[in-house]
Symmetry: C2
Subunit: 349 residues, 2 copies
Amino acid sequence: MAKRPTVYDVAEDAGVSIATVSFAFAKPEKVRAETLRTVLASAARLGYVPSANARGLAKGHTRALGLYSFDYLRKNTPQEALASPDRDDGRLFPLYADVIQRGVELECLDQGYALMLGAGSSAPNRAPVVDVAGRVDGLITFVGAAHPDLLQQVARRIPVIQLGGEAATAGTHTVLVDGTSAMHQLADHLLTVHGYRDIAFVGDASRPEFRQRLAGLTQRLVEAGLAAPPVLPGRPDINEVTTQTIRRLVECDELPDALVCSTDQEALAVLDALRSAGKRAPEDVAVTGFDGILAGRLSEPTLTTLRQPMETVGRTAVQLMTTLIDGGSVPEQGAGLECTLTIGHSCGC
Amino acid sequence: MAKRPTVYDVAEDAGVSIATVSFAFAKPEKVRAETLRTVLASAARLGYVPSANARGLAKGHTRALGLYSFDYLRKNTPQEALASPDRDDGRLFPLYADVIQRGVELECLDQGYALMLGAGSSAPNRAPVVDVAGRVDGLITFVGAAHPDLLQQVARRIPVIQLGGEAATAGTHTVLVDGTSAMHQLADHLLTVHGYRDIAFVGDASRPEFRQRLAGLTQRLVEAGLAAPPVLPGRPDINEVTTQTIRRLVECDELPDALVCSTDQEALAVLDALRSAGKRAPEDVAVTGFDGILAGRLSEPTLTTLRQPMETVGRTAVQLMTTLIDGGSVPEQGAGLECTLTIGHSCGC
DNA sequence: ATGAAAGCGCTAACAC
DNA sequence: GTGTTAGCGCTTTCAT
């Protein structure tokens, strides 16, 4: 890495000015063929690689998009066997966020944008979200991955799109998934097909998707003349919490007809917890998830869940972003993308 | 995105110099508490986000790594049913490269680096690999994803590490996987446990991993007094090629005892092709793969394969890279990482 | 068609 | 502790 050659080096070597070197790369047609050859030859020989930093600085944009995600979503949480022997450690893969990310990657590729990945906590202090924001023309982030204040700050500089949640931070755009109507479908299935009446909700109230999903469920239960579902604590990232919840339920012999979980990860944790508590799903209690991750189709029993159009979410975000960057305007919240009720064995079907 | 505030704006607003603003962020302890508060307040109010481009330019590095991969590996190739209903389209996921990428991502996160993703063809012309190379402190690339000449050029500027292949381009480092000894294991299994004698190899000779794997197999066959295996054309990215190959074999009634495929994707394609030709594995012919992707564990029959430590490959690359960036030195080719023989049903077990 | 020169936003000496 | 200033490497008028 001795000396990174610059335009100056190339210019000198080729016996032209730096402007010509620049043009040779940017607008080859504006340079005489002869000169062009000389310059390109020098560049190749010297091993010239243009600095995207300098270019970005000069042009005011970088042709790169940023994707910011939770760090805890990406950490490895030890899990049960089905948790992919495919991996060196225990984390389930691919998770919800992984598939969305894939959509983002693919669409960036298609649109000719580079993608900068970053992740971190949602702590309000010097967060890395600003770090990635400073490098790109637009920032896509999972709802809740970064502190709203920070995002709002970033949004004054570049377009910001939040993924998969409801409600946007001011100045920010959102790709919506219709969690409410999705839950309606599930509730209808549980109520009508299975005739369950005693239904509880398991989830982490601090997660952004929680409220909407719970609301959707509650709505249908109430419409059916039932009480709002009890909410049991669970945390997709800390199985222990879920385990405690289930143990308590089992010890008090208070298992409901069905445990509707806020996410698939949560549901899988519930399935594990039930198993170790000596109970079975769906015989002793029905269990459902939300998201439609791969692991849910491999679990025993297979998970009844609401499958989100994950890749589409990612691709849509990038499409909105490029529109925004090109000066176009898009509604702050697009129509919510639809989820698909996917029936597995865990609901009793 | 009206006006992206800069250090100048913040400085003016806070009534200090730009140097103080810079210090406030870089070395808060070198600034009087009072001043610090003022500056930070102004920055927050103005929505100041430091430009990583400018910073990178000034400091000479970016704290970002680049990962460059095949575009065709990431495109969607329509596949058979098992090809993951989890997805919006037909591509298998996660593939070999996806899991390695995950390892890279995770390790970057751990080390505090941002990750820039890029992909493209291996065409020698204005390739995007240079584009991502220009933005980062180090470039990790899949063997064969970028043209060697280009890589060599890039390597004069920043450290370059190639993934998963043998042989490095000059000036480049490599994370090796020991494909040869892996193939030995498989060959021994096929030869000893199953007693197969008539073994053929299926793969794309233009792919970098091809040679090593074929060599490993050939070696053992020859040692066992057999002829070198015939090589049948297949291309992991174009099922049609594999289909043709299998059809021809079946029509001529020349199916060998076993078809050793260069990759899992190839093996899955072979399985499909056999099925549509009315033949079955492992009854009519044994089939094996290489890589250990998820889809191979979900296929029918499950695939006997050599599982690469994919996540470890990715993490190792990042570790080498940071060592290199910090001025350390590492051997051009580390010891090859070991693969694990994973027995499925496709070999007849 | 090519060159000269003025920034782009930030960091890092070096002064004060 | 804070301000001045000279770059970092490239793009881009504006001349020539």
